[in-house]
Amino acid sequence: MRPSLTAGLSRAVLAPLRAVGLLAAVSAAVFAATELLPGDAADAVGAGRASAAQLAELRAERGLDRPGWERWAGWAWALLHGDAGRSLLSGRPVVDVVGGRLPATAVLAGPAFVLTALLVLLGCALAGRRALRRPGDAGGGLATAFTAVPQVVVAAALAALLSGVLGWVPPVSLLPAGGGPPDPSIVLLPVLTLALPSAAFGVALLGGAVADALRRPYVTDALIRGVPAGRILRRHVLPVLAAPALRVLAVVVGGLTAGSALVETVFGYAGAGELLVSSVAARDTPVVQLLALGSAAAVLAVLLLADLVPVRRPS
């Protein structure tokens, strides 16, 4: 077998294995952080009123007296079969509780993702143009600076502007009571708040790679020789950018999942992110576990994709 083929094969086998291993590690960390630290679910249910004997009975009933790794294995095994336990708060199956919130979050995250992608493309195009015109300039300072601003500040600034000064949208995004699609004016604020910081991260990370790719000698050489710009992009620039772009995609997906927790809570929007925060506040451990693991799995899936794409190093 040719070396490149063996390398590709081992990557195709090793990368998914590594992803599965990481997911298991993340699930153990999530489980340990939520279950094994002082104060367990029995304390939460008993709320300080139950006697020691009642607590012990409750622990035995829920299996909380077994060793930690055994409980983690049982939890993970049930999770693989689609059973994430029941919410401590409502008693409903966690899968149903979380599933009920996902459509509302998709309504935010979908447009936010598209907007982020467009903004990152625009930012990278600008960074590329700048790199060609002023070769010595590092650039990217504005996007990098913007990544320092806390997302809550972006939320507040947008709310003060769009709702306070201009009066275009309501400051609180309450979903219609009977379900059904929300009004576009309601999702505008949360979508913008989600997309702008993610886009800044994307441009800060990818803009430099774009500028580097365009400054390579063979690119400038091809430009001078009069090769059409489209062909230079396809042949010499885009292939080099595939791997960093996928890594930026993972960062953006992570940013959107974590951001949705913040944004939905701030604007009072009843999605999965708001569920995560309210479950943390209520110590509803099973719900937090499933939501945290789901977000981590989304990030790991994109990273796996980035691993599978063959890296083409510029010669």
Binding site: T34, G39, A145, A148, A156, A160, A258, L262, V277, A296
Partner: protein, 253 residues
Amino acid sequence: MLAAVVVAVTLLGPALAPYDPAAPVTAPWQASSAGHLLGGDVLGRDVFSRLLAGGRHLLALSLVAAVAATLAGTLGGLLAGWSGSRVIATGADLLLAVPVLLPALVVAVSLPGDAAVVIATVLAGAPLTLGVVRDAAAGVQERGYVRAARLRGERTLEVLLREVLPAVAGVLAADLGLRFVTALQLASALAVLGLTDAPATGDWAAMLRENLAGAALNPAALAAPALLLALLSLAVAAAAHAGLRHAFGTGDT
């Protein structure tokens, strides 16, 4: 410079506040007037007074978290750079991709929000610091002054702390700034989510959430704390990036 002004306001602010920051003194979300420079908040408390008092908890928490992260990363980085170990080199990509808020929320299930901010900042920041310090300390073993110190018979830890640490001090100062920005983002996020122990006298991040619904009535109650937080994080991040460029001698912009 800007950061110094904000820190001074934070330290002296409570003494300068014209009203009790925890007591209602005007109508809720009253627009700004001569008596109340920035108007009233959700409960009619003076926004200006709360602004002056609201930085302490947030800044102290962020600073503790940043110092903890840099300290942990520095110790690990010095040891890794000295021994030439590459164990912790992998996984940097992964750490970059995992959003910091997620581990903070998970930890906040069983610990108080303030502790969650510190732990998540350390988890997310220490490995990055470690990488920087390890690279800076990697070649230092062969330098003349380090060899001289070892020949004098100093122990490894002494050499690391007395000879190697000063050599990476510039990088560390810049790194501390970056960790502070992360910690500030986390602390303000958890404060907005109501998961930290924000004091009754006010907290810039908590003010954002309290006054969001009154954005149309008194935009100043929302814009003022937002502006302060933004300026502070921008100033610290800019100083940190300038420090990194200076330490590594790359770029001149």
